[in-house]
């Protein structure tokens, strides 16, 4: 136990250590200040603007920003869909693979454009190298950059300060193309290049040489690095980061977990820096850290015991089903928490084989709605929605007009915030409810008893929250042989899942940008004695309460029927 706790403590120390460094760097990047990479990246950045024919200094209001983002995502979706559907024409090694059917491809394209990376596809048995590199990995970068852009736009709007005599400006929140370019070139690419090479040094495969001697290979490391860094999570291999060619050693495992968490955690600091009060950032980091540590502790404790099926068969020991020896239960438990508090969804152990209480952790983390660290960018902007809500509730309690960072929080913002916070749970419950209440959802379910319910609930939780991890028994793709010959999709699961991902991504984004637009032009009131401070322990506790109340309790009845039932009984189904 002490050994396991020490490992977890070391990981947490690494994250806390990187937050000011990377967070401070990102603050400089997104305020267009000088950084140490200017000499290298600067020319590439300016060339990009020339090719795109855009003026980065041109500020967009929230509607223009949202429109650019939406158009960019639609074009990205179409291109990805076309790439995935024309596999027989691809350069590089193709394995002779045909394209997957339209419904599975719709699901996969939705999955990558929304930073979800839900896998109804099987990487090494259905996709060519070109699909993986030019299709999936490109969206791994871009969907993460889009998330960062939205978060930064919101922070900028919150931080916008105007003297009281200034005319109301247009409420500009930045330039989408500039944010996209700077997020990609200054943040994602440099870290991904270094990380990819570190991973290769551990044994992660990186070759264009094709399958040899029963070993499916490919450009894995380049994809693995951005898959973790961008909190994407779609594996080169079907079993994702438990496969030795994706994650061969204890050290590669640590590096990958670090990559998943580093940007979402550091963004809290970036936020504190840009709004000019670092304590604001640390308060949010503290709330996220607390909820994260609780989830680590629960799954760590749960997986140290075997499952009822193992006990009844006479097996003694921890739950090693679906886990590899080099990770054991400690690293698998830590990863399980890391990948579900963030919207990563890469796995290094089989979630379907977690103990009942163990599987409660990823489900609860998803129920928080990507707010605890969350995805790259998505985590922070979702958390800020909760913060505004907490400010509003706190304001009601003390009977004052709520203010956040000196800006009045009024009816319009709270309406938008409520919609943003409730959109995703609504999509989850509608999707899962439809799948369970009708016969359409049945072909996807693998397990019997409450586990079948858990599979379905998890599928929609994961897709609508853009996480992408799965109780992998749940299927949307029937593939008798490698290469897609004779395969077909489960249309209902593919299409509803795809729509859940798109809705769960873009509805909140539009609403968040609308909030940004609403607060950007607001006057700043001076801090007074009666101002409720949002950088204190008291406020942090209120925030935890709001998140747990809204996130977890929305799903509590559903969680009772799945993981909690299984955690409480020794009955086998």
């Amino acid at each position: 136990v002490a050994q396991g706790i020490l490992q977890i403590a070391i990981f947490c120390a690494l994250i806390v250590g990187v937050v000011p460094l990377l967070g401070g760097y990102m603050a400089r990047v997104f305020r267009s200040e000088r950084t140490f990479l200017d000499r290298v990246v600067g020319p590439a950045e300016r060339l990009t603007y020339r090719i795109l024919r855009i003026d980065p200094a041109y500020g967009q209001d929230w509607k223009a920003y949202a429109k650019s983002l939406a158009v960019f995502s639609v074009v990205g979706f179409v291109v990805l869909y076309v790439i995935l559907r024309t596999q027989t024409l691809h350069p590089f090694y193709t394995g002779g693979f045909h394209s997957a059917p339209w419904d599975v491809t719709f699901n996969t394209a939705s999955s990558f454009v929304t930073n979800t990376n839900w896998q109804f596809y099987g990487g090494e048995t259905t996709l060519t190298y070109f699909s993986q590199m030019a299709g999936l990995a490109v969206q791994n970068f871009l969907s993460a950059a889009v998330g960062l852009a939205v978060a930064v736009a919101l922070i900028r709007a919150l931080a916008a300060r105007r003297a009281s005599d200034e005319r109301d400006d247009l409420g500009t929140i930045g330039n989408f193309w500039q944010d996209l370019t700077r997020a990609t070139l200054y943040v994602l690419v440099p870290i991904a290049v270094v990380a990819a090479l570190v991973l290769v040094s551990q044994g992660v495969v990186q070759t264009l040489g094709g399958t040899v001697g029963g070993l499916a290979r490919g450009p894995v490391a380049s994809q693995e690095a951005i898959k973790e860094l961008g909190t994407n999570g779609g594996g080169f291999y079907n079993v994702n980061s438990v496969f030795p060619f994706e994650n061969p050693t204890g050290l590669s495992n640590l590096v990958e977990m670090f990559l998943i968490l580093c940007i979402p955690a550091s963004l809290t600091y970036t936020y504190g820096r840009i709004v000019g009060n670092r304590r604001q950032g640390w308060a949010i980091f503290g709330v996220m850290g607390l909820l994260f540590l609780i989830s680590v502790a629960v799954v760590f404790a749960a997986e140290r015991h075997g499952t009822p099926a193992q006990h009844l068969a006479g097996v003694v020991g921890a739950n090693m089903e679906g886990k590899d020896v080099r990770f054991g239960t400690t690293s698998s438990a830590l990863w399980t928490a890391v990948t579900t508090v963030t919207s990563c969804g890469a796995v290094n152990a089989a979630f379907e084989s977690l103990t009942g209480i163990g599987s409660l952790v990823p489900m609860t983390n998803l129920a928080y709605g990507e707010s605890v660290f969350g995805g790259v960018g998505t985590g922070l902007y979702t958390m800020l929605m909760y913060v505004l809500l907490a400010v509003f509730i706190g304001g009601l309690m003390v009977g004052r007009t709520p203010e956040f960072l000196g800006k009045k929080v009024e009816a319009r913002e709270i309406k938008l915030v409520s919609l943003a916070v409730l959109a995703t749970p609504l999509i989850v419950l509608l999707g899962a409810g439809t799948a369970l209440a009708t016969s359409y959802g049945r072909p996807s379910i693998y397990a019997s008893g409450p586990q079948g319910f858990s599979e379905t609930l998890y599928a929609y939780l994961s897709q609508a929250n853009n996480n992408g991890s799965a109780f992998a028994g749940y299927t949307g793709f029937v593939q008798p042989d490698a290469g897609n010959l004779g395969s077909h999709g489960v249309t209902f699961a593919d299409v509803i899942g795809g729509l859940a991902m798109l809705g769960g991504r873009f509805l909140p984004i539009v609403l968040v940008l609308a909030v940004a637009g609403a607060v950007a032009g607001k006057r700043v009131a001076p801090v007074g004695l009666g101002t409720m401070r949002t950088d204190t322990g008291t406020f942090a506790s209120l925030l935890v309460g709001v998140i747990v109340l809204i996130g977890a309790l929305t799903f509590f009845p559903a969680l009772l029927l799945g993981p909690i039932v299984q955690g409480l009984t020794d009955h086998l189904f």
Partner: protein
């Protein structure tokens, strides 16, 4: 900005980023990786007579033919007692088509699987490990790995199998234990990850030490 203007910018951006991030980036990493870590980047291959027969990172069961076939006509094999055996696999140790066992915590079918796995392990190791009970069987030996090709077994599992391998190969137990020791990867810096015995490496070392009887 007009919608058409956004569309043009978006189209150029996607093409540009696809070329840079989708082709330039992976090819550059491939070049660097092949130069700096050629063996690892190519999959840590095990070669025999110039042919790739496996990888040091991929666990594969060494089996013997029983001469019988199952209902589908596929040959039934049994574990080769002269080798260390990796953990159970849901995929037949496939490194080209991977999937999880998806065995749930309260699955009735799982209980039967574990019961059979315990019986099979004790049948194989029991004769060389008198007094081996269900409770004495290491958990990693009877649960399927996540990857289906877990190259490692726990040190406890390795210690039990060492007695069988030593007896079958007529090697001194101390020598086999030493080989196990040499092919055990500890925790990184003594802390990170879990210790495990690398089965592909160990079996290669065994064959180099003493040819299979």
């Amino acid at each position: 900005m007009k919608l058409t203007r956004d569309l043009t910018t978006a189209a150029i951006a996607i093409v540009l980023f696809t070329v840079v991030l989708g082709i330039g980036y992976p090819l550059a990493i491939t070049g660097l990786a092949q130069v700096a870590f050629g063996d690892k980047a190519s999959g840590s291959q095990i070669k025999q007579d110039g042919k790739v027969v496996g990888s040091r990172l991929i666990g594969v069961s060494r089996t013997l033919d029983t001469g019988r076939t199952d209902a589908d006509g596929a040959p039934i094999t049994k574990p080769d007692p002269a080798y260390f055996q990796p953990r159970p696999s849901a995929t037949g140790y496939s490194a080209t088509a991977t999937f999880f066992s998806n065995r749930g915590p309260n699955s009735a079918a799982a209980q039967f699987f574990y019961r059979d796995a315990l019986a099979a392990y004790r049948a194989l190791e029991g004769p060389y490990n008198p007094g081996l009970t269900d409770a004495g069987v290491p958990v990693d030996a009877v649960t399927t790995s996540g990857s289906g090709v877990d190259p490692q077994i726990s040190p406890a599992n390795g210690a039990i199998q060492a007695r069988r391998v030593a007896a079958v190969r007529q090697l001194p137990l101390a020598r086999v234990r030493q080989l196990v020791e040499e092919n055990t990867a500890g925790r990184v810096l003594g802390v990170i990850g879990e210790p495990g015995v690398n089965v592909p490496d160990l079996n290669l070392a065994l064959d180099a030490q003493a040819p299979k009887p």
